[in-house]
Symmetry: C2
Subunit: 291 residues, 2 copies
């Protein structure tokens, strides 16, 4: 049975990360001597010096580096224990969701529906750019990021990406603009288009489709916000290139109609960190989304 003193190890860990004993002591509201003597005791217990005293500075020895690696493991697990129990203990359990600013609100609502309105669940929704959202996910400030552009996949990626939905993309416009059943080529030749901006998968696929039929349409707008695309279509600016969920309500009310369905798909993803103890609410939502 180990009799490592974890209290001493934590002081070592704090000093090792800071590199200066006096400053660490101030930060922890301790005297220098408390730190100094307890790190010394740890060194005696381990049978090796962890710091090389060069001048007034402390430099990690090889043994110190080994100890620091293990201490990182130990104290991050300790932090995660506190965080997890803090959440478990809350009367209202929290689910923190980040969504790309440009992502359909209807889609977000549909995804969150299983937990919305429950008295024991607090949903915290944040929107932002991909970079902002992934930073927050990394900092454990978000449980999940909803996006239509998954992060790059490589061997060292800390992310888990789950596909939630696959929406066929269509052309939509006001009833006066959309008459009868017209071929795609004619539609894009006749009507100005309201397109997503270039850095989206829909846009890329759409441009490919245009190239294939050698079309050179008038582009009325390029917008990075689905809600704005919807509003522009509603005021008659042109035909919108979006998944139907974006304009669901307007379709129901007959304010917008479908001009054509395209052989294009927008995919929706949930991106999470591979956490040892994932938020149970999230597990629940992801399970519901794939049914």
């Amino acid at each position: 049975m180990s009799d490592l003193n974890y209290h001493h190890l934590r002081y070592f860990w704090a000093v090792a990360h800071d590199g200066n004993l006096t400053r660490t002591a101030e930060r922890l509201n301790l005297s220098q001597s408390a730190l100094s003597s307890q790190i010394k005791q740890l060194e005696e217990r381990l049978g090796q010096t962890l710091f090389e005293r060069r001048g007034r500075a402390l430099h990690l020895t090889e043994a110190g580096r080994i100890a620091l690696d293990h201490a990182d493991t130990i104290f991050s697990a300790g932090k995660e224990l506190l965080d997890t129990l803090r959440e478990t203990a809350r009367p209202a359990r929290a689910l923190r969701v980040g969504a790309l600013s440009t992502l359909s609100r209807n889609f977000q609502i549909t995804f969150l529906e299983p937990v919305l309105g429950r008295p024991d669940v607090e949903v915290i929704l944040r929107s932002g750019s991909a970079a902002e959202l992934y930073a927050a996910l990394d900092a454990l400030n978000l449980d999940v990021v909803l996006t239509n552009t998954p992060p790059a996949r490589d061997a060292i990626s800390p992310y888990l990406t789950q596909k939630l939905a696959d929406q066929t993309v269509g052309l939509f416009g006001t009833p006066d603009r959309v008459r009868g059943n017209r071929p795609f080529e004619d539609l894009v030749a006749e009507h100005p288009l309201i397109l997503p901006t270039r850095d989206t998968q829909i846009r890329n696929a759409f441009d490919t489709l245009l190239a294939r039929v050698r079309a050179k349409p008038t582009i009325a707008a390029e917008v990075d916000d689905m809600a704005m695309i919807r509003l522009l279509a509603l005021r008659g600016t042109g035909l919108a290139v979006v998944p139907p969920i974006v304009v669901k309500d307007e379709l129901t009310r007959g304010e917008l109609v479908q001009a054509a369905m395209l052989d294009l798909h927008e995919l929706f993803y949930a991106v999470t960190l591979d956490r040892r103890y994932p938020n149970p609410l999230l597990t629940e939502l992801l399970a519901a989304a794939v049914r």
Copy 2:
């Protein structure tokens, strides 16, 4: 900064694994009340009960299970820290090698050469059957297992297998037995053979070769020990089917000569566990072996 008390957590961890507070106290040479009051303090710090008191027994709550999982992580990292530093601190650093009993000693020496004779390195060599060696590897009593038969590969295998050498197999005999340049079919028809036992890759491949030339040789011996094959060849019992490294010295001294080289290969492997902090000596050896 976390202010979790790891000393309290360790007591909780010990009781949780044992399931009985009194027995745990005895084992740790403490009073019951020391355990009871410190676990109570931990519960207060965490804001949740970790044990449900049913009758006189303690049962883990959900929070208790979460805490136990994290504690397992924490204290196994703590143990590994102690183990690692204990090894690092030894004046003679240890490398524990297991080798299949039947494996060429010359090969073993060649592999270990970079660390043999160094004053700061102690090499511990064990031989045994595959099953014995893998059990010792699993129990962390060995750093590496040298073998000519790698373990089965599957997704949950804890082993890392590295190929070290690829030796072409030949026929070897005493000079009086080996005259001129004879075809393989003639050699095996004329001379009794000294073969590895059936459960080896060499033997399997050799039997296939025999079948291909429709040969029915006289088998003088089937041996599971390379050193014994060498001795039998030396005393003129027949032609030995082995990689040259097995009879390296005898070839140099002219006590044995090569009758033929075969289109057969014996592979040598190093098998290790995927450890977070591998023995540096081993890392060094494996790097040298592939150069």
